[in-house]
């Protein structure tokens, strides 16, 4: 039978963001996006994702970094560590944690979309021969990665699956643990791909020390207009998504 997640979410709930469901979307134009994927070697891959989700074979960690020069909250950079997963048969990415250099935006991302988020300094620099990203906090490097030798591809070739964010969700006056499905629309202006290079990663500081990247998979860099849409689905993290998913709004 399909592998099912077995991550114990209780320990994560204490500091999980509190989400109030509301009709809200966030559009940001001309966002640079670096995505680097690595296979993860782990003894117990089921324990990486909650019971609502299914791990993929093999599990893959996605480092997804946005940088925007303008937004309603000012310039920002956002770095996410996500794990490939499935909700039933649908491709999803379970958010392990995120870092953001814009406190006002971070607060909104946490409260409206359940981003488990902490501050950091984030640099994302594009050159013609490579794209470099550095995430640091208080002088400590949390993540350093690159895309090397970019070549153009079409936006159609690049995929960013919807995120599944563990949060405490207020519904009908009650706070419940839920996976919030974060759907993001991407309008591509250009896209490149290249060779992934991971120079440094501190998995414990991102929330899961078991995430040891092993095999490089791919790297892409794109420029997109991004819209994080209002939340349409939430999901009970303790039971399969096919049984525990609830529609909370229309698009």
């Amino acid at each position: 039978m399909p592998l099912a997640g077995s991550l114990d979410i209780r320990a994560l709930l204490d500091d999980a963001p509190l989400v109030v469901l509301e009709d809200r979307e966030l559009r940001v134009d001309d966002v640079d996006i670096l995505q680097v994927l690595y296979e993860v070697r782990v003894a117990d891959r089921e324990a990486l994702v909650p019971p609502a989700l299914n791990p993929t074979i093999p599990p893959v960690v996605s480092f997804l970094v946005y940088r925007a020069k303008e937004s309603a909250f000012g310039p920002f950079a956002l770095a996410q560590v996500r794990l490939t997963a499935r909700a039933g048969v649908r491709p999803r990415a379970f958010l392990v944690s995120a870092r953001c250099d814009n406190p006002a935006l971070a607060e909104v991302l946490a409260g409206s979309w359940g981003y488990r988020i902490a501050p950091a300094q984030i640099s994302l620099r594009r050159f013609h021969d490579r794209v470099d990203c550095l995430v640091a906090d208080g002088g400590q490097t949390l993540l350093q990665l690159s895309l090397v030798d970019p070549v153009p591809v079409t936006g159609h070739d690049v995929q960013y699956p919807p995120g599944m964010h563990l949060a405490r969700v207020e519904q009908d006056g009650i706070t419940k643990p839920r996976l919030v499905q974060v759907d993001t629309e991407y309008e591509f202006r250009r896209a490149d791909r290249g060779r992934p290079e991971l120079s440094h990663f501190e998995p414990a500081l991102w929330g899961d020390e078991r995430l040891v990247p092993d095999e490089p998979v791919s790297a892409s860099f794109s420029a997109c207009d991004v819209t994080i849409t209002n939340i349409r689905y939430v999901c009970n993290p303790d039971i399969p998504a096919s049984e525990g998913t609830q529609k909370v709004s229309e698009r």
Partner: protein
């Protein structure tokens, strides 16, 4: 219409020391029965590392066992991976020829290139190159079979002159096919004179368009081999019982778990931005057809599940679309009792198959009269 059975050899957890042997034994029993009942083909996949979904990494060995336990059913690779990191085309030609000899000239060679990162990444194969390597494989393999000695200077593969042995029994060579999951591969099949082995479910309108396009183009093809194989097959789930509700319930269990298991694999397209896998493939096609576990085939019109009349009606629809054959998945992950699978095949052969076989000539292997 021709009919076949499709073997994934899926092995559900929990695995015991006996699990895989039991799955193989059950499959061989189904193949022996299919041979007795008049099914035309048994096809075996080639997959690697696909836990539970398919433990069929040595399909030529499995098909050899099938050949030795049967007398008339044709044994087909459905399909062999034409990826050099998996195997050299020399080894494909050699081993396929052995299978053709052991089966008395009953080999069908389906070709493909893998679509999952799970497999390609496991071999450190380059997904960008698989279309090109497949193309070179299908051009050289028939030459290896037909020429006494063979030499090649290619892009992916080169060799000095050698005799590639043994040679297949079927002359000029066994029929060749290509797996069609990605849009456009039916055109590749037609242009090379290869049979079209459909592996993804789809709607009638889209299928009819593909079949028409294939038929039109293959009339002007330059075949990679010595002859054109212009057959078009599709794949379907088989569950046939006098109790239609039972048949549909049982068939849906197979279809549902098939989609669910397939979805856990990583498609190459999902993790690597590449033109080589332009879109779709089997996994997204299955996702489109299934909402969630339990309703995998609800929207899949034309499923061959139900009473013999239901199944015959569905086959007529596919026949009208232009298909020459349907290959059935009758079991997956052992979710159905073996006896149910065997009874379903028997009822199909007794009640349904004759409606499509009367007056139809038997499939005659090329060169074996």
């Amino acid at each position: 219409m021709e009919f076949g059975i499709f073997m994934e050899l899926s092995v559900p957890r929990p695995w015991t020391a006996d699990s895989e042997r039991q799955v193989y034994e059950n499959a061989l029993e189904q193949v022996r029965l299919a041979d007795e009942l008049g099914f035309d083909y048994v096809w075996a996949v080639e997959h690697h590392f696909l836990e539970e979904y398919s433990h069929c990494s040595g399909p030529d060995l499995f098909l050899s066992a099938c050949a030795m336990q049967t007398s008339r059913i044709r044994v087909g690779h459905g399909v062999i991976a034409c990826v050099p990191q998996y195997q050299s085309p020399i080894r494909v030609a050699e081993r396929a020829a052995v299978l053709d000899i052991l089966s008395g000239g009953r080999l069908e060679l389906g070709t493909g290139r893998s679509a999952t990162w799970t497999e390609l990444g496991g071999f450190h194969a380059d997904p960008d190159a698989t279309k090109k390597t497949w193309d070179e494989f299908v051009r050289v393999i028939p030459k290896m079979w037909m020429q006494e000695r063979f030499a090649w200077q290619g892009r992916m593969f080169s060799m000095p002159e050698r005799a590639i042995l043994p040679k297949p029994i079927q002359k000029p060579h066994p029929p060749m096919w290509v797996a069609v999951t990605s849009p456009g591969t039916e055109i590749d099949a037609a242009d090379r004179g290869l049979g079209c082995l459909g592996l993804a479910p789809g709607g009638f309108a889209d299928s009819e368009k593909k079949v028409k396009s294939y038929r039109r183009r293959i009339e002007q093809c330059e075949p990679v081999g010595a002859f054109v194989n212009n057959k078009v097959h599709t794949v379907n789930f088989l569950s046939c019982a006098e109790d239609g509700d039972l048949a549909r319930r049982s068939g849906l269990r197979v279809a549902s778990i098939f989609s669910y298991m397939a979805s856990q694999l990583l498609s190459a397209k999902e993790v690597l931005p590449t033109h080589s896998y332009p879109s779709e493939g089997l996994l997204p096609a299955l996702r489109r057809e299934s909402g969630s576990p339990g309703d995998a085939a609800k929207s899949f019109r034309g499923v061959t599940m139900g009473t013999p009349d239901d199944v015959a009606d569905a086959i007529r629809q596919w026949e009208a679309v232009g298909y020459d054959g349907i290959n059935f998945i009758a079991q997956f992950m052992e979710v159905l009792p073996q006896q149910y699978v065997l009874d379903s095949m028997r009822l199909f052969a007794q009640e349904v198959m004759p409606q499509f076989k009367q007056g139809a000539p038997r499939s005659v292997p090329a060169g074996v009269a």
